[in-house]
Symmetry: C2
Subunit: 235 residues, 2 copies
């Protein structure tokens, strides 16, 4: 981790935190901290700065922290993502958090296997944990919002147009469509389908809601690769 | 897999192949092929086309194949990659093959842990297997070339300048450098460091060999995410 993320409950005084568990082990084993070591720290959904180790044992560390810098800006990007295969889902959450995606909507689609919705990785604390891993990596503090929409049609018909607002709406889909634009300077709402892609009905509904189909070339990418490639291209 | 890749030894006649093992299981379980089913096929390092199932049992399938289409073009990209952590290495090989990278050089770096070079994933048949997974995904047949350079200095001093040739040489490195260019139309040689980045000596040596440092913004990405993001941005 490139940033030690602090939770509200870690604070034992306004500028002092007490840590144990995973973060303590990481500090000891990877950063090999000692008394007096300085580390980059940030408060979840808050400011970033420096922390200095004041007390240290095998079971806990106490740090004095000074938080004054804002986290990096988020990308003005809302990602509508057909619920991926669970193993890939965790990594996609980490990629999205590290790339700076602000909002993620997990959407059903005809080709999403029903079992994907049963994964324990959809539990809020597991989603949060994976997003935090991405934030720690990228040196960001602000958790992306994740919403779950298990019914495609009511979401796309009733809620997507308002969510889209003035943003540029795109749906990534292989076919005879314009190439995905690059370095877009306005907010973007981007829909990425499941393995095997959206079915034509879904592309039509997304078009009706205001999204334009775009493609990334003749190569068919795994969802995980496509998510990072599309975000990098748009941003 | 979006393309059934055929090896030379699968051919039992000029237009007939016999398959068993992983590819047969995939055909049966995922594609649920039957007698007469048509599939997209391609010959490793050769042409792509259609295959039709003529015989089928639990232990083998025979297909009549017609190969006439060229595979998609490769990106004119040589990737110099500090040897990644083994688990990530396998996925990076798959990402690179599916994105169309032509050449990969696995390079040592100060921050590459020595144990990474001991991984069984570096065995030629395991490298090949992971590249094939990426090609099957993307519908490509041409294996990227993978070279292993365990000594940084002799490679960078003696062989990199010739490898670079007329291509645009870039080294991805966080810092006060120009932003990584987009949609570059000429061949590119791109160096991507290990977790923790290149050390300053290595950046200097890569610069001496003709590579320009470029950065991707203030977010620090995992190597796996950075590889895909940089390739997507350049191509």
């Amino acid at each position: 981790m490139n940033l030690l993320l602090l939770e509200e409950q870690d604070f034992i005084a306004p500028e002092r935190v007490r840590l144990s568990g995973r973060r303590l082990q990481h500090m000891l084993q990877v950063h090999q901290v000692q008394l007096g070591t300085s580390l980059r720290v940030g408060q979840v959904d808050g400011l970033m700065g420096e922390g200095r180790v004041l007390e240290l044992s095998d079971t806990k560390a106490e740090l004095e922290v000074c938080l004054s810098e804002p986290p990096p800006s988020k990308l003005p990007l809302t990602l509508l993502l057909a619920m991926p295969r669970p193993k890939m889902f965790r990594r996609i959450l980490q990629h999205c958090a590290s790339l700076g995606v602000a909002d993620i909507v997990l959407l059903n689609s005809y080709r999403v296997e029903k079992s994907f919705w049963q994964t324990p990785f959809l539990q809020p604390e597991v989603i949060r944990e994976n997003l935090l891993l991405g934030l720690e990596q990228a040196r960001d503090t602000v958790l992306p919002q994740v919403r779950i929409e298990k019914r495609f049609k009511p979401f796309v018909e009733d809620r997507l147009p308002a969510l889209l607002g003035d943003s540029l709406g795109l749906v990534a889909h292989p076919g005879n469509y314009p190439a995905c634009p690059r370095a877009v300077e306005r907010p973007v709402t981007l829909a990425i389908g499941p393995e095997g892609g959206w079915i034509p009905y879904e592309v039509d509904k997304l078009k009706d809601a205001g999204l334009q189909p775009v493609q990334l070339g003749e190569r068919i990418l795994r969802v995980e690769t496509a998510v990072t490639a599309l975000i990098a291209r748009l941003s």
